[in-house]
Symmetry: C2
Subunit: 320 residues, 2 copies
């Protein structure tokens, strides 16, 4: 990940990674220090967590979710994990193994939910049954179940492993459409409100290359494969476009995302519908919703009644 012979900025030992946007190379030890400091700074700057907060980490088995869990535990935060089996073929099987192994090796608590076993559907089937794009059915299911688990378990916050690349790509998509309501909600900490738990993204100052390096140095065995359904989606197209900009001008991506938070987010903050809307309890599950039955319960009802759909069938339908 770095040029031969380059040296750590901090200690002059051989470097294991170069970070052009910081104009720096780091050895393994100082890379870890760099990551810890970026996480500390994110948590401090955005007032994400109190030391005594009990948090629930959304664990996928990929580098980001395992890295953020590792970093929070290392900080002394009380952090349990929740893994959701999405039923996306072998991708889900392998990701679950990575999540369980990480937790077992460290003696951490990992809750698990399996969509098929516990709710009678999976993501490919939900996509077909509801005619949603799969990433939409998946994201909605995960948000609902993480929120519910946090409420039921009395956790102070749901932590996700969204990194700088993720957030910049989402921001780019929302900006391309000037979706002011979504822009108003794009903040690395969303306070608890209306029955929704606090949501926290401590990795927003780290790129995916940096979280991968964290896992490598820390010996964390994560699932490298990306979700096969997400491959080729627009979000990844936005990442590619930003990566091309970043390659020309290192630091552009961080300036885009952090500059938004500093200078534009305050101008649109009052445009969030969630901040203004009135919610009631879902008649079926009790979750906060703007209607009678929440979107998740409607999705479960339709999906569980549908015959199972294989991931291959969803993939053969082409671009999302």
């Amino acid at each position: 990940m770095t040029a031969a012979g380059s040296k750590c900025r901090a200690c002059k030992a051989p470097a294991v990674i170069d970070l052009p946007r910081h104009n720096a190379n780091f050895c393994a030890e100082h890379l870890l220090q760099f990551c810890r400091r970026q996480v500390d700074k994110a948590i401090d700057d955005f007032d994400m967590l109190a030391p005594e907060d009990r948090v629930l980490v959304a664990v996928s088995g990929g580098k980001d979710s395992l890295a953020v869990w590792d970093l929070l535990v290392e900080r002394g935060q009380q952090a349990d994990g929740l893994y959701i089996g999405l039923g996306i073929g072998s991708y889900s099987d392998v990701s679950g193994e990575h999540a369980r192994r990480f937790a077992e090796q460290r003696g951490l608590t990992l809750h698990t939910i399996d969509l098929r076993d516990d709710y009678g559907y999976d993501v490919p089937t939900a996509a077909r049954a509801t005619r949603r794009v799969p990433c939409s059915a998946c994201g909605m299911s995960k948000r609902h179940l993480f929120d519910k688990a946090a409420r039921d378990g009395g956790y102070d916050a749901v932590v996700t492993g969204h990194n700088l690349d993720d957030e910049a790509a989402v921001l780019f998509g929302n900006t391309l459409r000037w979706d002011v309501e979504y822009l108003a909600r794009q903040y690395p900490v969303l306070p608890a409100s209306n029955g929704f738990p606090k949501k926290v993204k401590p990795l927003v100052r780290l790129t995916e290359r940096e979280t991968a390096a964290w896992c490598l140095v820390r010996g964390i065995d994560y699932l490298v494969e990306e979700c096969p359904i997400a491959a080729g989606n627009r979000h990844l197209g936005y990442k590619e476009a930003l990566n091309a900009i970043e390659a020309r001008s290192p630091g552009s991506k961080a300036a885009f995302y952090l500059g938004f938070l500093e200078r534009m987010a305050p101008l649109v903050a009052d445009r969030s519908a969630a901040a203004n809307g009135e919610l009631s309890a879902c008649v079926s599950c009790g979750a906060p919703t703007s209607g009678d039955t929440c979107a998740f319960c409607r999705l479960v009802e339709r999906s569980a009644a549908h015959e199972p759909v294989s991931v291959e069938l969803v993939l053969s339908r082409g671009r999302r």
Copy 2:
């Protein structure tokens, strides 16, 4: 520019161009109609021009400036041109020939300024003398001289040929930096204020591919070559990134630019420094300025005293 055998949406004649963002193909005649309608809509939507306005078109000899001049004259607008010789080697020589030929063939009035003959410098020399990036020295010189010519000639507006690709790329750059002051000024019509003439961009609803097609069909011989100094600059990188997005999702670029004007521009409109600042007259040339001597007069003073610098020397300095 289109698939073999495709037909015009309007008349079913063989098509000469396909426009994926409009999900349409057009024959030559209906392409012209399409362009006229887009220009009419831009002028109407943004209240750019009154029928009796006398305008000064900023003419470079490229497709956009010749197309906008042609379109305005066709509409019956009283429109003269101003060409500025920038001293960028053979690029400037050839661009001037195209501008003059266009005006002569149509009996239109083309004013000309030559930076070297009239002000004792050229763009390469100004860039070196002032240590500005060349595109900055060039842009500032052009803005000043077009403004001055409009004031001196009693024109109601300066018209430029900025197209949708240009405006989207500038918007993208300003957005990547969240430069709120620049975002606040990114509007296709800027009213006259503080001694500056009205500025109008009637082509903001047309892409550069569409203005090129206009010129092709209308038999307008324009300079195809891009400015050799601008080649490889960030602006072109932003265009490439947006083109990649557009190729995946036709219409994204127009949605980005027009969506900004509709939903975000109103939120930042009051952040423009120009709208708030107090200006006085330049002690040297009388142009509005925030200081004693305007930036253009300072540039001329330093550049005219510098020995001439060739365009090749500027190009050899690499990326801007």
